[in-house]
Amino acid sequence: MSRTLAEHRTLWQLAERAGLSPARRIADANGSMALADLAHGVMLNAEALRGRCVLLWSARQLPSVLALLQLDGVAARILLCPPDLSPAHMLEICAEAGVDCIVSDGSLTEIPPGVAVVQAGTTLSPRAGARAEAGTTEWLLFTSGTTGRPKLVLHTLASLTGPLSDGLVVPDGAVWSTFYDVRRYGGLQILLRAMLGGGSMILSQADEPVASFLTRAGQSGVTHISGTPSHWRRALLSGSASAMAPAYVRLSGEVADQAILDHLQAAYPKASVAHAFASTEAGVAFDVRDGKAGFPASLIDRTDGGAEMRVIDGSLRIRSKRTGSRYLGDRGVLADTEGFVDTGDMLELRGDRYYFVGRREGIINVGGAKVHPEEVEAVLNAHPAVVMSRVWGRASPITGAIVMADLVLRESAVNLIDDILTQCRAHLAEHKVPVVLRPVASLDVAQSGKLARTKVEKTRA
């Protein structure tokens, strides 16, 4: 197999190799940085961080991206930290990864003891001397589960850029954008496409209204843009979808149903609309460009050099050079002995296509925010009137799913439903609070002794 572009090169070298035309830039809602300026200017003293294990932390994405461009090939490890990491997990994460330096924009208040802090910003100073020789940096990405501490997945620039050999590194002039934060796998893929393909990158910004982001994307001349189906539903709902006119629209991260694909094609008639499958662990497996939900069954067992895929026990397994190499610490095994990563995404074969039907473990995905049924059940079951409960996802055309709960109540406790709801509100984030609490006579229990669960249901309450 031919060597990938990224072997023995750094992100900056690859960006530079694609040319530093004056038009190339990385911008967010507050500022813009020309790539050409990064050839002569520095945001921090990278040499002081040589061989260190560095966590990047910033509220805006731009300071972290600038640090990444300087530190890849210099630092031993870089942790791309999404901004919603719970402060409670910061200490453990830093210990697990051996973090000895945090590059921070100042918004991080809890600094683990013994960890140095380097100021991040978007102001450049003149570079003193040439760029030093580059080594190989390990990139650590966070998995996206919301309960418990996220796992860290070990990647390299080579494993991350593997997916780019699919013909989508469009030459020159492309302006990429994504609703994702680029510190997550899905967003990072877009940043890498922009950097390697000679394009520009328009970053999203937390708390920016979707209409403003779409307007900014339009004004910035965005040509290629990605997001989850929920991101896109929000974009369509905002009434500002027409503020931009991309040539390429990409969906990933959730199941793309036929309705959202059709809506996007209608909103952007000239664009090619594609949906992709990827995960932090498994990398990008494939993208589907025929405008239909699901994917052709012929992709399974293909041998054309792309990701190899299998369906075992109903779930998709992937093996390729694009997968992460392992989890950091004692956090389980990423791939089986043959190198296949179990994605946990369940497939159903209908005709000549496979369709995603949900997560094996039944995580409910409410507009991209994950809800574990068990954590909601724990709150419900803590109420004295509740005997047992089953939390499930009801399919929603707006957020993908909403949370529902079936309750087996103690006798004559039916009038306590409001009280149970109050308890949920007190203990759970808004999207995790069941929309309907439905008393039922009993709940099925499987042979294993576990509550019988079903995938996201269309059923009415």
Binding site: V210, R233, L236, L237, A259, A266, V366, I398, T399, A461
Partner: protein, 80 residues
Amino acid sequence: MTIKEAILAQMQLVAERQKKTLAPLTDDLKLLESGLDSLCLAILVAALDDTLDIDPFSAGTSKFPVTLGEFVQLYESHAG
């Protein structure tokens, strides 16, 4: 109760339940400026499915409604 009245009543209920303040419900009000967020809209659509037995989104719409007027119209056009 007309479909419009049913929708407005459900919006009040959802807003009350989710502790949101509704903007004055005029036809040209943008849904995303109504005070209801995506989650509230999801709850509203589910509640309307249950009470009116109409689910125009799953039936396949050509265009996402942007204003309250368009939203009501969408439901009216899918009423049995």
